[in-house]
Amino acid sequence: MRLDLNWLDYVILGCYFLTVLGIGWLARRSISSSLDFLLSGRAMPAWVTGLAFVAANLGALEILGMAANGAQYGIATAHYYWVGAVPAMVFLGIVMMPFYYGSKVRSVPEFLRVRFNNQTHLLQSVFFALSAVLIAGVNLYALAIVLEALLGWPLVVAILVSAALVLAYITLGGLSSAIYNEVLQFFVILAGLIPLVVVGLHDMGGWGGLTDKVTANKNGGDGFLHTWQGTGVGDVTNPLGSSWIGIVFGLGFLLSFGYWTTNFAEVQRAMSARNMSAARRTPLIGAFPKLFIPALTIIPGLIALVLFPKLGADSGQYTYTNAIPLLINKYLPNGVLGIAVTGLLAAFMAGMAANVSSFNTVVTYDIWQTYIKKDRDDAYYLRTGRVFTVVGILIGIGTAFIAAGYSNIMNYVQVLFSFFNVPLFVTFLIGIFWKRMTAWAGFSALLGGTLGALATYLLYKADVVTFRTDLEETFWGSGVAFAVASVLAVGVSMFTQPKPEDELQGLVRGIGATDLNAGELVGDSTWYRNPLLLGGIALGLSVALYIPFW
């Protein structure tokens, strides 16, 4: 397969990157301090940070991976969104954000330093830097697959060219331009995916035609059209291979809450908001587009299931990951084709840039400034930040080749989440709600949880323990991490001294008042901007969306 791009498609692609680099260049001229560079001076309105919040996650991996899941598992893929992402985003906005924004920390590890101790902070900074570059590599690889398939470039060239583009726009403008670009990307991605879904559905004879064809397909069947059927404990017949407990607790509570509430690439978007109200609304506003994104990823997956019966075969040129590129090739004429290719390239940029800019923040401020070179001037750390951006991208090129060694990158990513995000989430949650939790309890929960998930993964790989699917392993790995971290958090607290209460002001629920109205602008207290109401509506919608796909 080789996409037939003409001059018009290249003009569309070119205009996009000229705009993106132009914003970066202009942003650089107006950026003064290093905090500006890294958090965009906390001056963004909520609709900008909210869309950036979703766009930072809407990478090539999300689009290709979720369409692949749609072809492999059917509509049950919607669990990633409706029981996973959306409730987690609501939880972040309502419960967690007051602690993050109110304590004015620049990064998630920094919060750990104030709540626990330096050792916990350093451990998490290193874990974080590691996971950021591993996931940056996955994003880089995902896009290189697209470039390889769409433009005919060899994989190595595609990886290097993509890395150079990301480097150019981050170093030219920093996060300020990254957030702008992400919102722009969000619209371009939609402008590419919506026509693809419309044409595909029209070709299938509408939604009814598609469901008939999926039911009749030998790789599909009725199970592909339901979300909760066949998920009974002991009677698992659904394509995901998991019971409702695994879905709700593993995928929903542990993996999704862990990812959305502690991944700094995401949280950083909300920290750029101009006040507490806007920071809390950031993930809540992001939840609304997120509710409907499955329509743009799962439907193409189902169409690909019908059109390309060899997609999931063990032998053959294409895997599930190729669903979207194959459909673009089949359906889109020049013009919209250029938009869709630009959208995919843009989506990749969103993911990779988010990983690299959060890597740069954590390494510069949490490791370099805190433990290696203290008390230098602002310009020094600004320069250091730029150096680490380059370093992050170079390591990302290396980890892209690690990711290339996995047959299913989506499962690889879930494994990384179970290592890094779940233990952090448990540590956070207990630390925020239980003032008795001690500094060393935080350290041991974090370390023990990660080792627990790692051990589960290694035992699975060594065939000592078995699971139905790779996805199921990630649910269990997360469960082990959760159990180990909780036991250590409580156990170690029993034998160590808690921090005095006056050091926990604004960090633990119930100690000191977090000012929920800090920096409120005129109109922020309007009823339709109330976080509880916005969150409630988002949760209600995600329950309602399940009803037709029971």
């Binding site: 202009l26 004429p333 020049n334 602008l521």
Partner: protein, 114 residues
Amino acid sequence: MSDDSSRDSAAGRDPEIERTEEARSSAASLFDLRRIIGGLFTLYGVLVLGAGLFDGSNAKEKASGLDINIWTGLGMLLLGFGMLAWMALRPVDVRAVQDEMDESDGRSAGTAEG
């Protein structure tokens, strides 16, 4: 530093300060995201709509019989114009935002000390 506050009242008349405020205001307007999205989508809308009007039956056949370039082009034009119109009707008031932010910084610093 202490006499900064007494100079504040004269700030509006100080040509130096006025110039920086103008620069900040034009930078904010240039950086208005609505201008960037609006501009790019208007351009894309024209290009894609144009492609839809002039491409042959092959393109239509590929897209399962839909004039997908025309519809997408129109949609993108609509979004582009919408963003530009929004910006024209509700421009960013840099000075007001700046004042409110200064004020809120002062307030939160006060709570921390108190």
